[in-house]
């Protein structure tokens, strides 16, 4: 049976609408088990009313994204932090 989830690169398009930076290359820490890894490595369940990204280690929800007609809802409570690589801020 094929996997019923996609990899985290499936988040690239939906996040590009919200953030200027590419969030799939950000490194996050799972609030449930502490596993650290890039957002692209999450398991994304997309056959749902929203996108549900789960930790590859413990399967807990790391982030959720719902796109409504005139707003998006982003839930990051399953993430301790995201380290988002950015170009140097001058100096």
């Amino acid at each position: 049976m094929s996997a019923d989830y996609l990899d985290g690169n499936a988040l690239a398009g939906p996040f590009a609408e919200i953030f200027a930076a590419d969030v799939t290359v950000a490194v996050g820490r799972c609030a449930s088990c502490g596993l650290t890894g890039p957002v692209a490595g999450l398991r994304v369940y997309a056959q749902a009313p929203g996108l549900v990204a789960r930790c590859p280690g413990c399967e807990e929800v790391v982030l959720r994204l719902v796109r409504g007609p005139d707003a998006a809802w982003l839930d990051l409570r399953g993430t301790i932090s995201l380290r988002i690589p950015l170009p140097g801020a001058g100096a």
């Binding site: 369940y45 929800v61 839930d75």
Partner: protein, 199 residues
Amino acid sequence: MGIISRGFQGRRRGDDERLPPGQYLTEDFPVLSAGPTPRVPLDRWEFTIDTEGGQVHRWNWQELRALPSETPTVDIHCVTTWSKLDTRWQGVSLDVLFEDVETAAEYALVHSYGGYTTNLPLEDLLDGKAWIAYRYDGEELEPRHGGPARLLVPHLYFWKSAKWVRGIRLLNEDWPGFWETAGYHDYGDPWREQRYEGD
């Protein structure tokens, strides 16, 4: 005005009136899932109702299956805009499960194996409006459709009909569930098109 012929549309007469706004008709049964499918061995399965006063009512699989069941045929409406008419289920009415439950609570938080939750007013579970369903279309309910047992509350969008249901917590205050905390409507009436928060 005379009788207007609707012509042949490949659909049964009257289907349009049964379709809430913004929905389309589907013949198959799409599988929606926010996570891996939990596998619950029947000898360890249980269903509980926890009251606001701390009482716990508990049924194992044999006890649930021994209760009188009903065979509702209902239309279901998913918030992702598909609707399916005349789906045939078998299960236990929540009225049966609530027979000996003493409560003054107004709200229910339904929880599932796998961690899913959804909230609704308790009155929407009673008076013949909701079931714990364990058979679909003449077969045992498949895990991908929520088996061994799921909540069936067809008058609300189908995300309220929690798959892999494990229990109901009765609460004095409304406690939003999985999708209700991520932008979806707290109540979810398809006929009022209550999809998102604020609809």
